[in-house]
């Protein structure tokens, strides 16, 4: 039953995303002489979703260390994995746009590099989780790793920004000097919202699987001990 509700919700949010794409399709071809800019309608929401996820995972990890309740660990693990998917999507779509606009697949630009470092770091987190079999130990160690990771992301972002940047300067209106033009930003925020909901659903599916895995582990221990 719960599973069906999840699937239904996933379908609804995917629908909203698709419908938004329809709106995006109707927008002008170029903005401020930048072509293929429509990629950012998924590119930027994916980045937002990823960072929201990494941040939420850190908060959940802190709560886990405070309460020792495994559900917070399952949340942190699931959300990080999903955020990693969106971070990867962000990187790949960004690369395609870079190929169009700059003629190169990759450039060592601040945000690109930070995102890449982020992906590598949280990939390490996922690897760490897979390497530990005992659920409580896994929860404890990966929670610490998640907190270190978030602090690391802050440092990496700031220092790479000082080092070099080539990224399109502030695009969105909430930053000084940004602003794409009337009616152009709203679909992006709607996409962000829909994508975030989709991420929550994916993460909750993953959390349910974490429960299965814990159950399997405890059954194994039971079989082993008696």
């Amino acid at each position: 039953m719960r599973q069906n509700i999840l699937f239904l919700m996933a379908a609804v949010f995917t629908g909203i995303l698709v419908w938004n794409m329809n709106t995006v399709y109707g927008l002008p071809q170029q903005v401020q002489n930048v072509g293929a800019y429509k990629i950012i309608y998924l590119h930027v929401p994916a980045a937002f979703t990823a960072f929201t996820g990494f941040f939420a995972a850190m908060v959940a990890s802190l709560i886990y260390l405070g309460t020792s309740k495994l559900k917070y660990d399952a949340f942190a693990g699931g959300v990080t994995e999903v955020a990693l998917v969106f971070a990867t999507a962000n990187l790949l779509s960004g690369m395609i746009w870079a190929r169009y606009a700059w003629g190169i697949w990759w450039t060592w630009d601040a945000r690109l590099t930070s995102m890449l470092v982020c992906v590598l770091m949280y990939y390490g987190y996922v690897m760490l989780r897979q390497a530990i079999t005992e659920p409580t130990q896994r929860a404890r160690l990966s929670a610490v790793m998640s907190i270190f990771g978030m602090a690391g992301v802050a440092f990496v972002y700031q220092s790479i920004a000082w080092y070099r940047t080539q990224h399109p300067s502030p695009v969105l209106g909430f930053r000084e000097g940004g602003g794409m033009g009337p009616g152009l930003e709203a679909p992006m925020y709607w996409n962000f919202l829909a994508m975030l909901c989709l991420a929550v659903i994916l993460a909750s599916v993953r959390m349910r699987q974490a429960q299965f895995a814990t159950e399997i582990d405890s059954l194994r221990r039971m079989a082993h001990n008696h």
């Binding site: 999903v82 969106f86 059954l219």
Partner: protein, 48 residues
């Protein structure tokens, strides 16, 4: 519309969908594997 621009936009957007779909697929596969495993371990415990 410039066909090159259309192509890049198309693939740029598509890749995001592919990532999400790929992950959803891997989730579904893992779900099946876990359920089978759970069933197997449950039976093993019952036998003991």
């Amino acid at each position: 519309m410039d066909p090159r621009e259309f192509q890049y936009t198309f693939f740029g957007l598509l890749i995001v969908w592919l990532c999400v779909a790929g992950y959803a697929l891997s989730l579904a596969l893992r779900e099946r594997k876990l359920k089978a495993e759970l069933e197997r371990v449950r039976r093993m415990v019952e036998k003991n």
